[in-house]
Symmetry: C2
Subunit: 348 residues, 2 copies
Amino acid sequence: MKIDVIFTQTTSQDYSVYIDELTQLTLNTKVLIVTNTTVQKLHLQTLLTALKTNECFVVALPDGESYKNFETLSQILEACFEHRLDRKSLLIAFGGGVIGDMTGFAASIYQRGINFIQVPTTLLSQVDASVGGKTGINNAYGKNLIGSFWQPQAVYCETTFLKTLPPREFSAGVAEIIKMAVTFDKDFFQWLETHDLSVDENLKMAIAKSIETKARVVSMDEREEGIRAVLNYGHTFAHVIENQTKYTTYLHGEAVAIGMVMANKLACKLGLLSLEEAKRIQTLLERYALPTAYAIPCVEAFYDAFFLDKKSAHAKIKFILAKGIGGHLISDNVPKELVLESLKEIHV
Amino acid sequence: MKIDVIFTQTTSQDYSVYIDELTQLTLNTKVLIVTNTTVQKLHLQTLLTALKTNECFVVALPDGESYKNFETLSQILEACFEHRLDRKSLLIAFGGGVIGDMTGFAASIYQRGINFIQVPTTLLSQVDASVGGKTGINNAYGKNLIGSFWQPQAVYCETTFLKTLPPREFSAGVAEIIKMAVTFDKDFFQWLETHDLSVDENLKMAIAKSIETKARVVSMDEREEGIRAVLNYGHTFAHVIENQTKYTTYLHGEAVAIGMVMANKLACKLGLLSLEEAKRIQTLLERYALPTAYAIPCVEAFYDAFFLDKKSAHAKIKFILAKGIGGHLISDNVPKELVLESLKEIHV
């Protein structure tokens, strides 16, 4: 299956996302596979068997978001120099979002930019992170604050890699699938309500549908000057939750699930979403055992934390809200009191 | 005076280069000026007086190519975080090529890319480095091996800043002016033969002419896939010279001057340039006290060093040769013997 990402506003390279077509991949250049030690053990042999290349090297990094930093980025660059990669060489990001973000960033700055291919191995990175060209690393000031927009040459999603995912990671990926449906596609949402994603065929369909949606959005707004921000539905809240819990309690997708419920409370207050619609979304999230409540230590502090988020240029918070199921609204003038009220409601 | 840089193949932002129009610069955003301690002492006050901004910060880095590394880049990024620059903020690169390359690189990766303006203070950076969007830092493996293509929002060249340049640095800038004339513009070369660049008016004219040439070339080929490589005339040789002398003996422009003479020897052997034309070029270089000879320790080792240059993808050396005065040829199949012969001739 093949989905095209075509940039309509910029001339970033257009590319395609392939689902279950990895064996078709032939590369006539020097390749460096960037992976982590977990994925290396589980799936590297599968990739090496499928791939046809002339000259191929592997660098395996430690696994985890805590390694998404400059030191690990340097390890990738060091491997590029060591294996004498040139401007025509290629990196393959083989892992989840952390590997994809760091490999893409390394590709964007090695010799002022070389090509890379995404082979995402988690559901979350297949449906979201691997498409769209956001790259970056974290630092003491926050997440993804150093990075670039750098599009891959292609994305290969293999559902076979998802078989080994722990259930929580699987569900975290489903949260982003639900996110796409809620904000962009009513029919897809209804389909999700009636189809079980633990069935292979359904999962493949949901992945394709999510990628199509993401591809359409980033095609229109590569650099997030408008509609692409809608993909951050649930994320403004999630970032604060992740921060307050030091990234140890929730997986990113789990925090997003809670964040969507929070955003929905606000949308209900603003008359954008009915209580019944909010309930349907929450029910779907809960079906995949996703968390939908969070004990906010202090509602005022939670609110203040929004302003530390880089996405709030000029100290206005941009809320991404569901406008019915399948619609969205970006608002930067939501009254503070309404936000506080919503936060108090979710307070468990 | 205003010269436009318009990207015909990519959608990098088009921008303009202004000569002696700094007082026209008004900025309605948060600004961080990146400079070095030398330029800070000599010219920062002039810049601050000319500039109209709301909120302006300064970071002054140590001066010199040896500081064009990751540590200094981190200092720039740290200042961005410290002053809470957001996606709408702006960096100003205020200094020579080192400051321009590092500031541009920092701008390209801070929050996935913010705008920057070049205010080059050396002749070399005014006529060459500040236009075209090449950014980068050096590392143990070589020069500019980590970086990006990131275009400034505007370039402001002020001839007043050149008054304090040491004579050698002035001449090093003239070498790049001569480079443009030799490879692209016969009339400009003849004009240079008959006009003294120590005269203000002539200098301004030569700067404008060089920028026009550079702008035209990068407009056609931003990412150096073709004609932009001609701007490396003299540089393939210069890089080896700089490497062998550990960047301590020659300024970059001086090494380029020697490199042009070397390239010309080769061009003469290939019948592309007459001995008389080569002589005219050498005479013009010498008029500005630029070096035109270099004691090659070992001709074979010099040749082998070409292959360490990143610009030689797939182990073929691309020679940039003058084809008469005002013309050029890129060749990647020059016989090794001819190169060795040329090198032997220059051997003093």
